[in-house]
């Protein structure tokens, strides 16, 4: 492997890697704004300037591939001066309103200003200001905080496949905006907020709900479709505030779609059933009794949401024959998507047609997709993680286990409230057969329980088995 020397340390690199990435390998941080590993390199912000031996001018590390024997200095006097200068330039027109900016605490501009800038500015002229722009429901724009890094523009054209963010006018008056000031159209808009290195683009859904330093993070997987994008849940005090993408080059790179990003909302929703029900709120014993009662002596079918984990499905595969006799099991999740063959790409970016995360896993366990109830079926046990679309069931008694909204559970004989994807650990299998792990970020709300607990009390409680 070729080697270069960065700040006196020998570093091996793969040909083609740029100096930002190569330096990162040995823990040397080269600050950058416009560079983003998932976007083309434009070398516009000039923050990543480094000194390279035998080159008279500073070079931008983001646009310079490492070369064998190259000697690079990231902390020379010239570099430090250039970093200070760039920070000063970036801040002369910045409002410096960090106390009321939602990005504070996770803002590259703020962090690099602290680390590489001067505490004091020589700018005494009037600051440039822009009018704000409504960019639709997802993103809030505050152009005064923009540093013109153009990441958003490149994300739109290169990743989302839509040229909706643009630069208009030029020079000092350049404004980063949407085409004709129209609202954003992409259904990947949340990424704009993630990749904006300042508080210029923020999530409407999240802003001012929580200062980011109060948030606790849990690495998990999105349950929004069969891709299984890697993401992080941010919660405080058992309330989820947002989800952000987690880099995984093989699954989702750096991105999430909006549907997946905002999917968590149902977890905190008021209308979610979090107490046992049997035509009204009851205690667990009464609900279990009602559930057993409803199924007892009837021809039963079990519908398993493909939003359940492998572990949950395996428990059901053991539980059903023992407690519900011959009842057949089917999986359900997305209307029209019954088998892995149906699960095609839903767009050219990430989304899959299966709107549940574990279709492919359940198929591996031998479950087949639900089409219609076997004739003569009198009762259905419906087990769901929270996201699977309920099939239309007529003329049968229904018992629900898992996550339901009150309106969905209206006619159910009993509801045993369960845990959503954010409240449990478990394995899911994505469309490529990749096993990934959900991690519990918060506790199940109210009296909800994990499926394993529900099935255990069912099995052990008075009344014993069904048969």
């Amino acid at each position: 492997m070729p080697k270069c020397i960065i700040d006196g340390r020998e570093v091996e690199f793969t040909p083609g890697q740029n100096l930002v990435e190569v330096a990162k390998k040995v823990g040397i941080q080269i600050p950058f704004f416009c560079y983003h590993p998932g976007l083309t390199v434009v070398a516009q912000c000039r923050m990543c300037a480094v000194e390279i031996e035998k080159m008279p001018k500073l070079q931008t590390a983001c646009s310079t591939p490492a070369a064998d024997g190259m000697v690079v200095k990231t902390r020379s006097e010239k570099v430090i001066q250039a970093q200070k200068a760039t920070m000063e330039f970036l801040l002369i027109n910045h409002p410096l309103d960090c106390p009321v900016c939602d990005k504070a605490g996770e803002c590259d501009l703020q962090d690099f200003s602290f680390k590489y800038g001067d505490a004091y500015s020589r700018y005494t002229e009037e600051k440039r200001t822009y009018l704000d722009l409504d960019m639709g429901p997802v993103i809030k724009k505050n152009m005064n905080r923009c540093i013109h890094c153009t990441r958003c523009i490149r994300f739109g054209t290169e990743v989302a496949g839509i040229h909706e963010m643009v630069a208009v006018r030029r020079g000092n008056s350049t404004e980063i905006t949407t085409v004709d000031g129209r609202p954003l159209e992409t259904d990947y808009a949340g990424n704009y907020a993630d990749l904006c290195p300042t508080g210029s683009l923020t999530l409407k859904d999240f802003r001012f709900k929580k200062r980011v330093w109060f948030l606790k993070r849990t690495s998990t997987i999105c349950e929004g479709c069969a891709r299984g994008c890697n993401m992080t849940i941010h919660q405080d005090n058992n309330v989820i505030y947002r989800c952000t993408p987690r880099e995984n080059m093989e699954v989702n790179k750096y991105w999430l779609c909006d549907e997946g990003r905002f999917n968590f909302r149902y977890v905190n929703e008021e209308s979610r059933v979090t107490v046992p029900m049997a035509r009204g709120e009851v205690d667990w014993d009464a609900a279990l009794a009602a559930a057993r009662n409803a199924l007892s002596g009837k021809k039963v079918a079990v519908l398993v949401g493909s939003d359940l984990t492998q572990e949950e499905a395996q428990l059901l595969l053991q539980f059903v024959p023992r407690h519900l006799g011959e009842a057949p099991l089917y999986h359900f999740g997305t209307p029209g998507i019954r088998s892995p063959q149906d699960d095609m790409p839903a767009d050219r970016i990430l989304k899959r047609k299966s709107k549940t995360a574990n279709l492919h896993g359940l198929e591996k366990l031998g479950l087949k997709g639900f089409e219609a109830l076997p004739s003569g079926t009198q009762a259905v046990l419906l087990v769901r993680g929270g996201r699977a679309r309920l099939p239309e069931l007529k003329g049968v008694v229904t018992v629900g286990v898992g996550v339901f909204r009150a309106d969905e559970a209206q006619g159910f004989a009993a509801v045993l409230p369960g845990a959503s994807f954010a409240e449990k650990d478990g394995t899911i299998v994505n469309f490529e057969g990749r096993e990934q792990h959900l991690r519990r970020a918060i506790n199940p709300p109210g009296q909800s329980k994990l499926l394993s607990e529900i099935l255990m009390v069912w099995a052990n409680s008075k009344g014993g088995t069904h048969v």
């Binding site: 516009q44 000039r46 646009s63 250039a82 330039f89 002229e125 153009t150 630069a167």
Partner: protein, 429 residues
């Protein structure tokens, strides 16, 4: 400078800069029109590029890069089509040489481009002309039509089997589109912003194909080089490594402003101003010379004994640039002059990169303050600092173009700036 001769200089262009010269008939009759092209078709690509190298022709667009060497960078084989682009954006303040070539001798440019296309293996050429050159764009198109009609453009040119199409593309009024990669973006219909280099256009240029971008005057020299040989052209110049003649545009406070054609490195600035241009207007004292378009660092009256060519100018910390000389007499306020220049570059900055977008406007604001009586003592060092923080640190050379004048004016005429700050106005006003 005893050897420098200014008599019996051979000129290529200027004697033809008359309305009568424009038609194809004149070009064929008086300028051996399209004979170089015939000759070139009998040469190999390497032979043509070899002559270009021998000629010591250096780019007339501003950077002075050796043209033959540049052509040599074009890969012989390429999966993508190659392009030859003529930079006719001519927007550097003070510059008006390419205009006359296009206006009076358009065929010499066309012929140069066909030869260039043949040498590098390009079948499409573009002339990117500044939007304000409405008349020149039309004249060029007329000449191109003539050339197509006579088989100097199009398919199987002069029976050679070589095809070459030429299109005039008008700019929309941005100085930055004279920078070659911004030009290419604009040509492709994108926002006129410079691209990161590398890759250089020779590897990935117009529509990502290998591309040569040359100035009008550069390409117009090609037929002469092919006809009379690289060695002959090299000898027109008076310095090593700088062949041919130069079109020099002189403006400002001189008695005879206008376009001059002189051997490369054939005169000093002093000779240009006093011998050729008749001296300073009204016989005033010379205050300053902006020697290579408004981006060239300014020279004081004591610095004009320099030989006016690429290398000597660089050596004294300025540049030949587009060979546009602006002469400034003692009556001109240098503070106002610098504001005007700085405003221009701030206005023309594309806004892509931080130091230029933020710094050019900041310098403009500080200068405006000084001009309007609220300058502060520390402003001059601040200006020098801002300029230093831009210089050499931007994505394209427009940053340097904005920084160079500020640094040179403030350093060389510091007393004038201080007087403004002290008295709160222009002391001469």
């Amino acid at each position: 400078m005893a050897e420098i001769q200014t008599e019996q200089n051979e000129t290529l262009f200027i004697q033809h800069f008359r309305e009568e010269s424009r038609p194809l008939g004149y070009y064929l009759r008086e300028m051996a029109g399209y004979t170089a092209l015939k000759k070139a078709f009998g040469m190999s690509s390497d032979e043509i590029i070899g002559e270009m190298k021998k000629s010591n022709l250096r780019g007339r667009g501003g950077a002075g890069f050796p043209t033959g060497m540049k052509w040599g960078f074009i890969p012989k084989q390429s999966a993508k089509p190659k392009y030859l682009v003529c930079n006719a954006d001519e927007s550097e303040p003070g510059t008006f040489k390419d205009r006359d070539i296009m206006r009076y001798t358009p065929h010499v440019l066309i012929e140069g481009m066909v030869i260039g296309g043949f040498a590098i293996g390009a079948h499409s050429g573009y002339i990117y002309i500044r939007g304000e050159y409405v008349r020149e764009a039309k004249l060029l198109n007329d000449a191109i039509d003539e050339a197509y009609a006579k088989g100097y453009l199009g398919k199987n040119i002069l029976g050679s089997g070589f095809d070459f199409d030429l299109t005039v593309h008008r700019g929309a009024g941005a100085y930055i589109c004279g920078e070659e990669t911004a030009l290419l973006n604009s040509l492709e219909g994108k926002r006129g912003e410079p691209r990161v280099k590398p890759p250089f256009p020779a590897i990935s240029g117009a529509f990502a194909g290998p591309t040569i971008v040359n100035n009008v005057e550069t390409l117009a020299a090609v037929p002469f080089i092919i006809n009379k040989g690289g060695d002959w052209f090299a000898k027109l110049g008076r310095l090593e490594k700088s062949g041919g003649t130069r079109l020099i545009g002189v403006s400002g406070h001189v008695k005879k402003p206008g376009l001059y054609e002189l051997p490369s490195g054939g005169i000093t600035l002093r000779q240009l101003i006093y011998d050729h241009c008749g001296g300073v207007l009204g016989d005033k004292k010379l205050k300053a010379v902006i020697p290579g378009g408004s981006s060239a660092p300014v020279l004081t009256a004591d610095e004009i004994d320099v030989v006016y060519d690429i290398d000597p100018m660089m050596k004294i910390g300025s540049m030949l640039g587009s060979a546009a000389v602006m002469v400034v007499s003692e009556e001109m306020c240098v503070v106002r002059l610098l504001i005007r220049i700085t405003k221009f570059y701030a206005h023309e900055s594309c806004g892509q990169c931080t130091p230029c977008r933020e710094g050019t406007r900041w310098m403009e604001d500080v200068l405006e303050r000084i001009e309007h009586g609220s300058g502060r003592e520390q402003d001059l060092n601040l200006l020098l600092d801002i300029a230093d923080n831009i210089n050499g640190k931007t994505l394209c050379a427009l940053g340097d173009a904005a920084a160079g004048p500020v640094m040179s004016f403030v350093k060389k005429f510091r007393a004038d700036f201080e007087a403004h700050i002290r008295s709160g106005k222009c002391p001469n006003a």
